[in-house]
């Protein structure tokens, strides 16, 4: 989450004064932040803080009531989800949505077809992504037969197949056991390192956030109340106050 420290780094995504209300209830209130290119960014906050709403506004699920979202110098607020993906932003879903009737490979191919023109090309690209995510052994299995951690990997693989510059992860660690969480952390570290993929993750699982994120933003009641490096943010008074009573493992 770009704060004072990231002036030098290029910002791949900028959120400017974005607000959103649902039937009179203010979900997001004048939020602003930037994501440094090539960094792993975390967005945390208590339930109802507005994280998913911001996430969905970036992903194109809904348009902000006011404010701008700029991705790679281009304004994307109000675009449809498929247009957002085409622009270079991939996303996963909090409750995984595999194409249950298709095989694992076919699932990823759906994503690959966005950038590949032929089925052969899509297949090759998908296979390489499955290898990266350690799913290639399961390529011909139906997606419905996968365990939850594998489904999450599939979801990530599918999004990666669209060759995004920015990957949005919506509580991807939810429901995973600690060892599985650590494995996912490794996967993301690896992708970020080798491809320079910028990542934004919404998370409750602090173990993952602290291990992965280079910058963190904290939301509370729809407002950004703190941002900076992890070790700064967890000591911030406002953050501690809003989390009082919540279980955190730091």
């Amino acid at each position: 989450m770009a704060g004072a420290c990231a002036e030098a780094a290029r910002l791949i995504l900028e959120v400017h004064n974005v607000s959103k209300s649902f039937r009179g209830l203010r979900a997001v209130r004048d939020a602003s932040f930037g994501l440094a290119e090539g960094a792993i960014n975390g967005l945390i906050g208590p339930n109802g803080a507005g994280k998913t709403t911001i996430f969905n506004m970036i992903a194109g699920v809904y348009a902000p009531d006011s404010g701008r979202i700029v991705f790679q110098k281009r304004e994307i607020q109000g675009l449809r989800p498929d247009q957002v993906c085409d622009a270079g932003i991939g996303r996963t879903f909090q409750i995984v949505k595999p194409f249950a009737g298709l095989t694992v490979l076919d699932n990823v191919m759906v994503g690959a077809f966005l950038r590949e023109r032929t089925a052969a090309g899509a297949r090759a690209h998908s296979a390489s992504i499955l290898r990266k995510l350690d799913l290639d052994a399961k390529a011909t299995l139906p997606a419905s037969s996968l365990t939850l951690p594998d489904r999450k990997r599939l979801e990530v693989a599918r999004a990666l197949a669209t060759r995004p510059r920015l990957l949005l992860l919506d509580e991807v660690m939810a429901g995973l056991r600690p060892t599985e969480t650590d494995q996912m952390v490794q996967v993301f570290r690896e992708i970020n390192r080798t491809e320079g993929l910028t990542i934004l993750l919404i998370e409750h699982v602090m173990r993952a956030v602290m291990a992965l994120a280079q910058h963190i933003g904290v939301l509370h009641h729809g407002e950004v109340i703190a941002r900076g490096a992890p070790h700064e943010v967890v000591r911030d008074r406002a953050v501690l106050e809003c989390y009082l009573g919540e279980e955190t493992e730091v």
Binding site: P81, F99, D106, F113
Partner: protein, 320 residues
């Protein structure tokens, strides 16, 4: 070649040789089976591929038939010209329905009802349309020929049989290619989970419209065939909701979204229906309605015990 391709080639070869082994009646039954296999496949593109349940497909058969038949009846314009007009009109109709449905977020049951409403509306409309003969029907001049006149699509039953075979095989081939292409993957994705599909860059509206357009256009061709094969058209019959249900019975019984499903389903249904009729005549039970009751029972049985249709279970056995 894949096992499926081999099976297809064998099937087409057998069907091509069929006329040498059977009589005129069996040939007409076979033509009917191929007709339902074709329309079932066309419908399948909308439902099995894009997941939109249309219960008003008789609309496209009817419009296709009346357009081609109408311009032949009034101005003597041959079926090949009429074909293009029929396809164009039906595609437009399909796009209108699709646009209305998808833009306004109508899906599932409501979409099905919308398609029924359009078909019924058109049925009653044509009942009052003088140009096409109204409820009394439209009768095309029948010229029984022994020679094949492709230009005006008139000839012996054999010609119609081979035409239908070509159509059905063509539809099969087209759908097979589509399924393996980007379109096929995208449609299946939309069918499985539209939100996830959008998140992967798929403009679901445009792709759904494409499925609807292709489905409508293909069905229009069946309508043109219908007009020049049966030579009499009645709004009450051709637009009837029973026709729409007949169209979907094949794919549902055979297997939705599969390639061999519609053909298998059409074969099973037509043969069963004919077999039952023969049986009933044999026993002297020629009560009107008894055949449809058997039909309904078969449908019930398949829906209850073979929910994915007959083909998937069979395919597993044949390991296709």
């Amino acid at each position: 070649m894949t096992r499926a391709a081999v099976l297809l080639v064998v099937l087409v070869a057998l069907l091509a040789l069929l006329p040498w082994f059977v009589g005129a009646y069996a040939l007409s039954v076979a033509t009917l089976i191929l007709y339902f296999a074709y329309t079932g496949q066309a419908w399948n593109v909308m439902m099995g591929f894009a997941g939109q349940l249309s219960l008003g497909h008789s609309l496209y058969v009817g419009v296709g038939a009346y357009v081609a038949g109408g311009i032949f009846f009034h101005w003597g314009i041959g079926p090949w010209a009429g074909l293009w007009l029929a396809i164009a009109l039906c595609v437009l109709l399909g796009l209108v329905i699709g646009f209305l449905a998808f833009r306004f977020g109508i899906s599932g049951v409501y979409f099905a009802l919308l398609t029924i409403a359009f078909a019924e509306f058109t049925r009653i409309g044509f009942d009052h349309l003088g140009w096409t003969g109204g409820p009394g029907g439209m009768f095309l001049k029948v010229a029984q020929r022994d020679t094949w006149d492709i230009a005006s699509f008139r000839g012996p039953p054999l010609m119609y049989y081979y035409s239908m075979l070509a159509l059905a095989a063509g539809a099969f081939a087209v759908c097979h290619l589509l399924l393996r292409s980007k379109a096929g993957y995208y449609w299946q994705a939309i069918r499985e989970n539209e939100d996830a599909a959008q998140a992967l860059g798929i403009n679901t509206f445009r792709w759904k419209m494409l499925a609807v357009a292709i489905s409508a256009g293909m069905t229009a061709i069946a309508g043109v065939f219908f007009a020049f094969y049966y030579n009499n058209l009645f709004p009450e019959q051709i637009f009837n909701i029973s026709r729409s249900i007949e169209i979907i019975l094949g794919p549902i019984i055979g297997g939705l979204g599969t390639l061999f499903g519609p053909i298998l389903g059409a074969a099973v249904l037509t043969l069963l229906s004919d077999g039952i009729t023969e049986l009933l005549i044999h026993f002297g039970w020629e009560i009107p309605g008894i055949k449809q009751v058997f039909y309904g029972v078969v449908l019930l049985a398949v829906v209850m015990f073979l929910p994915h249709g007959i083909w998937p279970a069979l395919a597993r056995r044949l390991r296709v």
